[in-house]
């Protein structure tokens, strides 16, 4: 987030002072969009994407790999536990007496995605 926020804050200050027609507007927009793209792909390696791991593993092995071997290697039950820990760190869920519950921030985010899928007329994802 710092990659996005610090330079963007500097750019915005300059643009607010000198107006939209400032020569700094275009670099500010390009920076914001590139940073948003980086943030969009960051979870793919931060959260250990199974798809990326499966493809890289198949590429590195250079042999036929069985489905059972892939499931054994990448289908660990800790997959969900790790993600819950990430969500706790991000303040989206919290441990409670009833197990894990959503914080207000988590509720809002969950509702945004539920509404998004409803507007698209799609069921919730199956990944």
């Amino acid at each position: 987030m710092l990659v996005l926020c610090i330079p963007l804050a500097i750019y915005l200050n300059i643009v607010l002072i000198s107006g939209v027609s400032s020569p700094w507007t275009i670099p500010a927009v390009v920076h914001a969009i590139l940073a948003a793209n980086y943030i969009a792909i960051y979870p793919a390696f931060q959260a250990s994407s199974p798809t990326i791991h499966i493809l890289s593993y198949l590429w590195n092995e250079k042999r036929q790999v069985g489905e059972l071997e892939l499931m054994e290697r990448f289908g660990k039950s800790g997959l969900v536990k790790d993600r819950v820990q990430d969500l706790e760190k991000g303040g989206l869920v919290k441990p409670s007496n009833e197990g894990t519950t959503l914080t207000l921030k988590g509720k809002v985010l969950a509702r945004i995605f539920i509404t998004y899928r409803q507007v698209l007329g799609l069921p919730l994802g199956a990944g």
């Binding site: 969009i33 493809l55 590195n60 069985g66 892939l70 990944g127």
Partner: protein, 172 residues
């Protein structure tokens, strides 16, 4: 120089993409045509056209190139938001907690099934080959090269992380 109107039209690109995507999905749900991926692609293409028709009627190479690069960047961000709603485990956990007040792993999120879903998706998208039933090989493809690069970057960012993709030869 770019005007405020042009800038706003450009920054509204994700909104156009969302509206056309929703509209396209409604039509495809009714007519069962076209597929989800082609609907998303079509929505992004229409959004490009709308952005240019509304905001960039006065042609100049510099402004159009700028708008094109930014639109592509915003289209990529929109694609990831859709993809997140489709497959992201953290989003599934949040949605599961909101709807059922429980973490989905305990009832219907089986990690092995999630791997099976991904293998099937890669196979159906022709990203991996299946020379004999139940056995897979990597196929040269854009997704494979992107994955190898991202895997290398992940190893660079998180050197302490257990190397899941370590080969059987290097483990021996």
């Amino acid at each position: 120089m770019i005007s405020l109107f042009e800038l706003l039209t450009l920054l509204l690109f994700p909104l156009w993409a969302f509206l056309f995507h929703a509209f396209g999905m409604r039509i495809s749900l009714i007519r069962k045509l076209p597929s989800q991926a082609s609907t998303l692609l079509l929505a992004l293409v229409i959004s490009f056209v709308v952005t240019f028709v509304i905001g960039y009627r006065e042609f100049s190479w510099e402004r159009v190139s700028f708008a094109l690069v930014c639109s592509l960047g915003l289209a990529h961000v929109y694609f990831h938001i859709f993809n997140m709603s489709e497959t992201a485990r953290r989003i599934r956990i949040l949605v599961g907690l909101e709807l059922n007040s429980q973490i989905v792993e305990s009832n219907n999120y089986d990690p092995k099934e999630a791997v099976a879903v991904r293998i099937e998706r890669l196979r159906s998208l022709n990203q991996i080959s299946e020379p004999s039933p139940g056995y897979f090989l990597a196929k040269p493809s854009l997704l494979l090269y992107v994955s190898v690069i991202l895997q290398g970057y992940e190893n660079f960012l998180f050197p302490d992380r257990k190397r899941l993709t370590e080969t059987s030869a290097s483990r021996a």
